[in-house]
């Protein structure tokens, strides 16, 4: 029998990038919160500049939960799904914000209204065949103040390109209007990123230093970035990079309204016969607990969000919690671009020295993002941001492509890497990706986790729209690299990612309960006291990283809960 705990107002499942944000407005409003997190606190002293630990073996985590329940993947509904390698999401207080790259872009207004804007500009025939694309139930303008709130709360550095309609070419001129400048200037440029920026200018493009949730100067008691070259999949040893473990979670703890249950794995969300959720069951140090709560917020990342709902069957929910319309797991998609097979790798005839720095330090171009350019005749909608950045670890540097200029081993290879390990880089491309009928999440019928629960299964399918879109962007990227002096450029054939750190959908947000799990505020259409946080509610990806949007939405959902407490908590 589960040990029953003292009831709380809100139980939050997962204290990562999303859950770790939501607890702050809730705690500030005086609600009593149980934060139930599978991982534990991490100690910055264990964050070392060690490529084997961080990158090769992916050991930066407090417990190996994510690694023991890696989803399976198949590329058609008739295939058998298989496990594909590792998955780098984190289990810790702070979640994946501990070791993410911290690029913190806002979506563009077009991303919220992709369907209607596409139909308006190109006609209904331009909507990709088989896609389940819908407009978001909110606009960029409605989310703007939450973006702003989060940027100032966690500390985002960057240069605004559009303050209330005033365009500044030092920033991203294609971004939506923002109410004010970023709280800190952008990460510094390097000689190489300046060279790339110069080349972009010569091509008539509009390069800028992209935003990051990383301090560039002391901010809220944390220092500026040290540019040491081990930021990607590594925790920040000085706390310059935001993680919710060092920003919003400690602030919420200070109110004494948040209690954290660490190393506690939620196994089911419980519901009464009326369908309302009543709390969560979790395991901690081998014991089973029941945490009663008047409201539950689910924030366990895309794959686990859908899986926990599907696992939480009850009398009221025979097909899984909040799944009476069969929408849980649907409208899943993951970022195409470099996350898939769309690499663009360049070799220069001189040292570029990108060993140090960080993946968020670079120069980016949004001229080909989303709908910033005319797509007439191109055969796809959406677009790609191009980002050239620093940070290259030694094993990765030596494992470089030899561009057909040397064999893969022996004395000639050795001479090649001596000369060229400091002369190459790979661009980071992020392409607008859309939901399709044939791409979804469900429970794997065969593969189980250590608790004998089925793991999440991903079914994907080829997409012509995204393939063309990535190819278009790869050609632009090649042009850019060559303009900066590259002597070789390799473009890998675009494919979709299997598992992704930018995974969207499964509990999409929309006004229509027939096609969406969450309503416009992030609460379940079917189980009204269940809220859902994370990119699992997003219906489009934009051509940029998800987390700032995830966090702005999390803040908004939490604020809505506070304002509508009586209605939601019942």
């Amino acid at each position: 029998m589960a040990i029953s705990l003292k009831p709380v107002d809100v139980a939050v499942i997962g204290l990562g990038a999303a859950g770790g944000i939501a607890v702050l407005p809730l705690a500030q409003a005086g609600l009593k919160i149980a934060g139930i997190e599978a991982g534990g606190w991490m100690d910055a002293r264990t964050f070392r500049p060690d490529e084997i630990h961080n990158n090769v073996r992916g050991l930066v985590t407090s417990v190996p939960k994510t690694k023991s329940e890696v989803p399976t993947v198949r590329d058609s509904p008739s295939a058998v799904a298989r496990r594909v390698g590792n998955h780098p999401m984190m289990n810790a207080i702070g979640g994946t914000s501990i070791h993410y790259w911290a690029q913190s872009w806002r979506l563009k207004p077009w991303d919220f209204r992709t369907r209607s804007e596409t139909v308006k500009r190109y006609g209904a025939g331009a909507i990709p065949a088989g896609s389940t694309l819908e407009d978001w139930p909110l606009t960029y303008d409605e989310l703007e103040r939450y973006y702003d709130q989060v940027e100032y709360e966690i500390g985002v550095s960057g240069k605004a390109g559009n303050i209330q309609g005033r365009i500044d070419p030092a920033g991203n001129i294609f971004e939506g209007p923002r109410q004010r400048e970023y709280p800190m200037p952008p990460l510094r440029a390097t000689e190489f990123t300046d060279r790339m920026a110069q080349a972009a200018h010569e091509l008539g493009w509009h390069p800028f230093r992209p935003p990051a949730a990383i301090n560039t100067q002391p901010y809220q008691g944390r220092p500026g970035c040290a540019y040491h070259g081990f930021c990607g999949t590594g925790g920040c040893h000085i706390g310059a990079k935001n993680s919710t473990a060092i920003t919003t979670i400690p602030a919420a703890l200070k109110t004494k309204n948040l209690t954290i249950f660490d190393r506690a794995q939620v196994t089911r969300i419980a519901a009464g016969d009326d369908g309302r959720v009543t709390g969560v069951n979790y395991l901690r140090e081998g014991k089973e607990y029941f945490q009663p709560a008047r409201v539950v917020l689910l924030a366990s990342y895309t794959y686990e969000n859908s899986r926990l709902l599907l696992l939480s069957k009850s009398k009221a929910w025979p097909n899984g919690l909040s799944n009476n319309h069969g929408q849980v797991g649907k409208h899943y998609f993951a970022h195409w671009g470099t996350q898939g097979g769309g690499a663009v790798v360049a070799l220069f005839p001189f040292d570029i020295n990108v060993f140090y720095g960080l993946p968020a330090q670079g120069t980016a171009v949004d001229d080909f993002g989303d709908d910033s350019f005319d797509h007439t005749g191109l055969g796809f909608i959406g677009g790609t941001t191009l980002h050239v950045h620093t940070e290259l670890h030694p094993i990765e540097a030596a494992a470089m492509n030899t561009f057909g200029r040397a064999p893969g081993w022996g004395a000639r290879w050795k001479a090649f890497v001596r000369q060229n390990a400091a002369r190459w880089t790979a661009a980071y491309l992020q392409t607008s990706t859309f939901p399709y009928e044939t791409t979804f999440l469900d429970l794997d019928p065969q593969v189980r986790d250590p608790l004998a629960d089925p793991v999440c299964r991903v079914t994907t399918s080829p997409r012509e729209n995204e393939r063309r879109s990535v190819e278009y962007a790869q050609n632009k990227m090649e042009q850019w690299f060559r303009a900066a002096g590259a002597i070789e450029v390799i473009k890998a054939p675009p494919t979709g990612p299997a598992l992704s750190t930018h995974a969207y959908g499964g509990t999409r947000m929309g006004d229509n309960p027939e096609t969406n799990v969450a309503d416009r505020w992030g609460f379940s259409h079917e189980a009204p006291n269940l809220g859902i946080l994370g990119a699992s509610v997003m219906g489009t990806s934009g051509a940029r990283n998800p987390t700032l949007t995830v966090q702005a939405l999390a803040w908004r959902t939490a604020e809505h809960l506070v304002k509508s407490w009586k209605t939601i908590a019942g």
Partner: protein
Amino acid sequence: MQPDDQDAPQLSRRTVLASATLVPVAALTAAAQAPSTALSTTERQILDAFVDRLVPADELGPGALACGAANYIDLALADALAGEKATLAEGLAAVDAFARTQHGMPFPQLTPDQKDAVLTEIDEGRATGFTNPRAFFARVRRLTLEGMFSDPYYGGNKNFAGWDLIRYPGPRLAVAPEEQKMSALPKPLHQSAYGSKFNHGH
């Protein structure tokens, strides 16, 4: 393992992948044993000869063998990569068997040219006696790179010769703007992330 790791925090080098329950990484580490190796003497000799040809010693500096790449692999197979040991050992035996059919001698005793001929056959997928010669070759190559270019803490990259070869200037806790210049790679810092200089902390 390395002279400068005595002040290393007890970070786990064991695989957490195999762990079936929610075990804090710290608990796994507490149980960590002194480093041991996995391969038999014969297997190790074959591996030594293999990595020695992948990255030979020459005027550019020590090769993979002197860098300790085989040592790295052997240690890893007893630890984080224990799950791969059987496959690797089977592949090494196949290298030797294939060398004997081609040249009538064990692989380690062949001339450098003969060894290269054998490795080329494996790399290009023509060698017999392997489950998948290309995949085996690619894996040994990859692990050799890890051994040559990883932190010396893991038993390879001896005297930082791997990092010097590719002109990687070594981990630092803070990097100045000049150290990110294109034209002037910074002076190499020969230190392990587990050396005393890295005992930062709050």
